[in-house]
């Protein structure tokens, strides 16, 4: 029993150690930069996966929460000069609160109506960021965002920032993992599968949706903070609808409801365009196809997507080797 417990813990530990090895081994600034973006986009994809993949409430406004978090964090840091950790929390709270406010009415809608509503919300936030010049400096964006200072160390180098981004990502991933492996995560899945049956089983469907939406929004807000204090400059052009589509593509590619898939897809969709910069213009074409896939695959679980099946096969083999019961710890 004990040995099995140790065995069970060993793979994630090795994986995490390997991930932390990256910023220490890689010295190429360009690659570290991609590493930071992979962390940020993984947070975005995983958080969107909670509400859209696990709970089935497709949102196309996730970039708005990312933007709200980035601006909130940057403004707090610029005007009050508070420690970055507080800024991240402020960003998460700002995005989370707005997530609740928009989620309460929007999540009364379902399917296409919800999608359109979230698109509208995303556009609204972008326009506010663009036009509330006295606060956001509009199209000029916010500049001179302070670098994070942690334990007296200013996070300056690419490798330092990668450690910070990775830590925040792992923390958020762990939270999501724990939620999914609890009755609350199971209830979200039930809502995706059949709302009426879920309601009959005593699940307050609307409340659970709003809470999941707020958690996802807060996590996206934290990702925004991570971006703001890395770029040191943010402007409304980053947080556009196209980028929401981009995040959703990651969730779809990785498999709706499957968290490791979101991370893999976020990595692929960040690394591939970088390595194939010349083909960059085909990215939107690929997203187009993916979105069509989403519509066709509505209510289809992650295991039926190509990457999901591939992932499930490997996952199954790993589990078999380790002699684990299937089903425990499963997303």
């Amino acid at each position: 029993m004990k040995i099995q417990k140790v065995k069970k813990g060993i793979l994630p530990v090795l994986l995490i150690a390997a991930l932390y090895g990256i910023p220490f081994c890689v010295k190429n600034q360009y690659m570290l930069r991609i590493g930071v973006y992979v962390c940020i986009y993984s947070i975005l994809a995983c958080s969107l996966n909670l509400i859209s993949g696990v709970c089935g409430q497709v949102s196309m406004g996730h970039a708005a929460f990312y933007g709200i978090g980035a601006y909130a964090s940057a403004l707090v840091a610029i005007h009050f000069g508070i420690n970055w950790v507080v800024c991240v929390i402020a960003a998460a709270i700002a995005a989370g609160v707005i997530g609740v406010l928009i989620g309460i009415p929007a999540l009364k809608l379902s399917g296409g109506y919800l999608v359109i509503c979230t698109v509208g919300f995303g556009e609204l936030v972008r326009l506010i960021l663009l036009n509330w010049v006295s606060l956001t400096r509009g199209p000029m964006g916010l500049v001179n965002i302070p670098r994070p200072v942690l334990f007296g160390v200013t996070i300056k180098s690419g490798s330092q920032y990668m450690v910070v981004a990775l830590t925040l990502f792992l923390l958020i991933y762990l939270i999501l993992h724990n939620i999914l492996n609890s009755k609350y995560g199971r209830n979200l899945k039930a809502i995706r599968e059949d709302e009426i049956a879920a309601e009959t089983m005593g699940i307050h469907v609307h409340r659970e949706k709003v809470i999941a939406f707020a958690i996802a929004a807060a996590m996206a807000g934290a990702a925004g903070s991570l971006l703001a204090h890395y770029m040191l400059f943010i402007s409304p052009t980053i947080f556009v609808g196209d980028f929401s589509t981009n995040i959703l593509s990651m969730v779809v590619l990785g498999g709706m409801g499957f968290m490791p898939g979101s991370v893999i897809a976020a990595t692929l969709l960040t690394v591939i365009p970088e390595t194939l910069r010349g083909l960059d213009k085909y990215r939107m074409l690929i997203y187009g196809f993916l979105l069509i896939g989403l519509m066709l695959g509505k209510n289809v679980s992650w295991e039926t997507t190509a990457l999901g099946r591939w992932g499930a096969g490997i996952w199954g083999k790993i589990r078999q080797r380790r002699g684990l019961k299937e089903g425990d710890g499963k997303v």
Partner: protein, 260 residues
């Protein structure tokens, strides 16, 4: 006092009176059936009982408390659960997960326990799994525990839906056509299964078109037609009631209700 007392409940959709002035009772430990031709309003009664529709008038007392027009998610905690005429499982989830959702109102730990994966959470989950497996063993479905329920045969899915409704230990179980789509052998199994439920502390309100099933296991029967209660009584009485025969096969027909 009765476990469930429905008095003078009505519901109309536009001009259509789906249920009008319906009254009936279920005593603790009874199997009570509602029968009637297609469109009689039986499922509508279930939807009124579980908060999916609001009553236009009338009252519903359950365990001495008024329960009409509450939000649907509040009924489980009061001890009232149901199944659906058109199977409503969580298809992509496993059999075990389906039952765990049925049990979720009894799994008590907070969101923070979930996030921090506390001992309280782990113990509660462990207990819930044991309880879910127990109920699956009860209906000899434990072998399916890890299968996705969309891959199961229809009869097994129907059984699972009952298990999911039972696992939280409700006082009253509403079954909407549990035998629909089952073969005769499965129907017999179902009959004896339902018959054993009162002994385990469940009272049953049953909607069913399979007359032999209804006549065999019901303690009391209410007959509906066009939203109204047209007859009530023990099976023997209802079978012979001319109004019931007429409702089912029209005037002058022979009793297929009685045929069983």
């Amino acid at each position: 006092m009765s476990l469930l007392t429905v008095s003078d409940v009505s519901k109309s959709f536009g001009g259509l009176a789906a249920v009008s002035h319906m009254s009936f009772e279920v005593e603790t430990g009874q199997i009570v059936s509602i029968i009637g031709p297609n469109g009689a309003g039986k499922t509508t009664v279930f939807n009124l009982l579980t908060g999916f529709y609001t009553c236009d008038e009338g009252s519903i007392l359950f365990d001495g408390e008024e329960i009409s027009n509450l939000p649907p998610y509040t009924y489980v905690e009061r001890g009232l659960t149901r199944t659906f005429q058109n199977l409503k499982l969580f298809p992509a989830m496993t059999v075990l997960e389906n039952v765990l959702i049925g049990y979720q109102s009894c799994i008590s730990y907070g969101r923070l326990d979930a996030v921090f994966h506390t001992r309280k959470k782990r113990q509660a989950e462990q207990k819930a799994r044991e309880r879910a497996m127990e109920i699956l063993r009860d209906i000899e479905m434990d072998g399916y525990a890890k299968d996705r329920c969309m891959n199961l045969p229809y009869g097994v899915q129907k059984q699972l839906e009952i298990a999911r409704a039972m696992v939280s230990g409700p006082k009253l179980l509403l079954l909407d056509e549990p035998a629909a789509g089952l073969n005769p052998q499965e129907t017999d199994q179902l009959a004896s299964f339902i018959q054993r439920l009162p002994g385990k502390g469940y009272s049953i309100l049953l909607i069913e078109h399979d007359m032999s099933l209804v006549m065999n296991i019901s303690d009391y029967i209410y007959v509906m037609d066009y939203g109204k209660k047209i007859a009530q009584g023990i099976p023997g009485e209802v079978q012979k009631n001319p109004q019931v025969i007429e409702a089912y096969i029209g005037k002058g027909g022979k009793s297929y209700v009685a045929g069983g």
